[in-house]
């Protein structure tokens, strides 16, 4: 309460990230002492350069995407898990496609944002189907272009998230599976500039943001109206769709980040560290990364621990 406000540039994606927009709608960031400026991006990878250049302090995206980037030189640390979007992340086929499984994808074209978790899902599924990923025609596209590509028949299959999944389905694409059914974790959260988060101000700022996000979940449960309106304003997503997406997503609190046995844990054995191992394993095998990364050193639980106290 008494300390000075800290300014934070927060990169976000136009998806219904409920805790973020709830905190924004209810003025929770100010309450917790951070002056947040929201900056919109089209995908996690789109934020890498801005984070590196210091244009933003916090970037919101998939844990896997930022981890893979860190192995290629992105100087960032993973500081907070917001939720798991597996249930709203799915594979769609273009209209009239007869594909049934990944085994059929040989010589077919598939798309995802390059270097994203969705990219990794393709890779992982192909490996599980014992399909050599080199035999697939992988077309890297940012998410909105992926929808147009599916719609215009430029590619046969795409991994998409909501709300694009719904838009693609409305335009004739067919959803065949979603990540949670297959047991894949699409954990997304916050990456912070490496140096910044080591500083006292950075750590404080992230802790305050973390508290505000957690408080946002409660605020939404009491009254979803302002949050849904904020989502429409900031992302253009209609309230009904946003509400359904939010209902299908698992949301994490500050306590989850520091609990020992929780998929959202930054410290425990079944948490983010395990996901990173899985990512590194698959990504290395598929050539998405060509060096072992920092492993669990990519995780910086400091701010979350501070926030939890």
């Amino acid at each position: 309460g008494q300390e000075a406000m800290i300014e934070v540039n927060y990169g976000y994606l136009p998806v219904p990230t409920m805790p973020l927009f709830a905190a924004e709608a209810h003025g929770l960031f100010e309450d917790f002492g951070v002056d947040v400026t929201l900056i919109k991006f089209t995908s996690g990878p789109a934020q890498f350069q801005s984070l590196q250049a210091g244009s933003i302090d916090l970037a919101q995206g998939a844990l896997a995407a930022f981890y893979m980037a860190s192995t290629r030189g992105l100087e960032a640390k993973w500081v907070y898990n917001i939720g798991d979007a597996s249930a709203i992340s799915g594979l769609v086929l273009s209209k009239g496609s007869s594909l049934e499984s990944y085994a059929d994808l040989a010589d077919q074209s598939i798309t995802a944002p390059p270097g994203s978790i969705l990219h990794l899902f393709h890779v992982s599924q192909a490996m599980d189907a014992e399909l050599d990923f080199d035999r697939v025609d992988f077309v890297p596209l940012p998410p909105p272009q992926a929808v147009s590509a599916i719609q215009n028949g430029n590619v046969d299959a795409a991994w998409l998230w909501e709300p694009l999944l719904s838009i693609a389905e409305a335009n004739g694409a067919v959803q065949v599976s979603n990540a949670s059914e297959i047991g894949l974790h699409d954990v997304f959260g916050l990456a912070a500039g490496g140096e910044w988060v080591e500083s006292e101000e950075g750590r404080d700022a992230v802790a305050r943001v973390s508290r505000a996000l957690t408080a946002g979940i409660e605020a939404y449960e009491q009254d979803p109206g302002p949050t849904l309106a904020k989502i429409e304003e900031m992302t253009g997503i209609k309230p009904e769709l946003a509400q359904s997406v939010i209902a299908r997503t698992n949301w994490a609190t500050v306590t989850d980040q520091v609990a020992e046995s929780n998929v959202f844990s930054l410290t425990g054995p079944e948490g983010s560290g395990a996901i990173i191992d899985w990512v590194e394993d698959r990504a290395l095998a598929a050539g998405l990364i060509n060096a072992t990364g920092a492993g669990v050193d990519f995780l910086n639980p400091g701010p979350a621990q501070m926030a939890a106290q």
């Binding site: 136009p14 919109k40 089209t42 801005s50 250049a53 909105p144 838009i167 253009g236």
Partner: protein
């Protein structure tokens, strides 16, 4: 165009509008693929009333105009004197030739990623991109303008007894003005063309942002309205610069 031909223009304009209305309002073409004129009007009214992505419409318009004007003005401020110098002094021309020769043929958009890398996503790189795209035009045209000044007019200036400084300000500069104005005109048009490209650099507002962002979730009416506003401003901008040019160069006659 004389009045009689104007009718043909109005008729063809009206015919296009009618075709568009019939196709969309009759449902022959899906509204989701091509918004009707009515939808665009409503969208425009809505944007006026409620803005887009948290900013009022005028601020999107204003920020784009600001970026174009800033990049453009910088290019004029730096490019015109540089061009005049280069045009007058062959040594300077030779010194700058490798730099200009290297950068000029590179499309400005190619620098977007580098600009983001070095300068982030603030106003700096956006304005810088526009500046860079305009600069070469301004420098080269101003230099050319000075180089093309007829020897005789310089001689006339010397003959009436002007000093070197007087010669520069009272003869060389006004004599190069038509070329400079041409450069300014081209640069102004380039600057507006580049505004959309510059807003590929993590913009949070602006007309370019508006059309890029709205297309992400297939909010086509906003994309269309944005494109139309960009086109109209481009047109007005052009007309304004032409008017300025005619006024400044009134002594050229028609």
């Amino acid at each position: 165009m004389t009045t009689s031909y104007r009718w043909y223009s109005m008729a063809s304009g009206a015919a296009l509008l009618a075709l568009w209305s019939v196709l969309t309002l009759s449902g022959l073409v899906d509204e989701r693929s091509l918004p009707s004129p009515v939808t665009l009007a409503q969208t425009f009214a809505d944007l006026l009333a409620r803005g887009y992505s948290g900013s009022p419409l005028w601020s999107h318009v204003g920020v784009s105009i600001f970026r174009a004007l800033a990049g453009f003005s910088l290019a004029i401020l730096i490019g015109v004197p540089l061009g005049l110098l280069i045009g007058r002094h062959k040594v300077l021309e030779a010194v700058f030739a490798p730099i200009i020769g290297f950068f000029r043929p590179i499309p400005p958009i190619a620098f977007i990623t580098l600009f983001v890398f070095y300068f982030g996503i603030g106003e700096g790189p956006k304005i810088g991109l526009i500046f860079m795209a305009c600069l070469w035009y301004v420098v080269l045209n101003s230099a050319e303008g000075v180089r093309n000044i007829p020897d005789l007019i310089i001689r006339a200036g010397e003959n009436i007894g002007l000093t070197r400084t007087q010669l520069f300000f009272k003869v060389v500069l006004p004599a190069a003005l038509p070329a400079i104005m041409t450069a300014i005109r081209a640069a102004s048009s380039i600057s507006w063309t580049l505004v959309v490209a510059s807003e590929l650099i993590g913009a949070q507002a602006g007309l370019g942002f508006m059309i890029l962002d709205s297309a992400q979730y297939f909010n086509l009416p906003v994309t269309y309205v944005g494109i139309i506003i960009i086109g109209l401003i481009g047109l007005v901008w052009e007309l304004a610069i032409s008017a300025v040019q005619r006024r400044v160069l009134h002594w050229q006659g028609k």
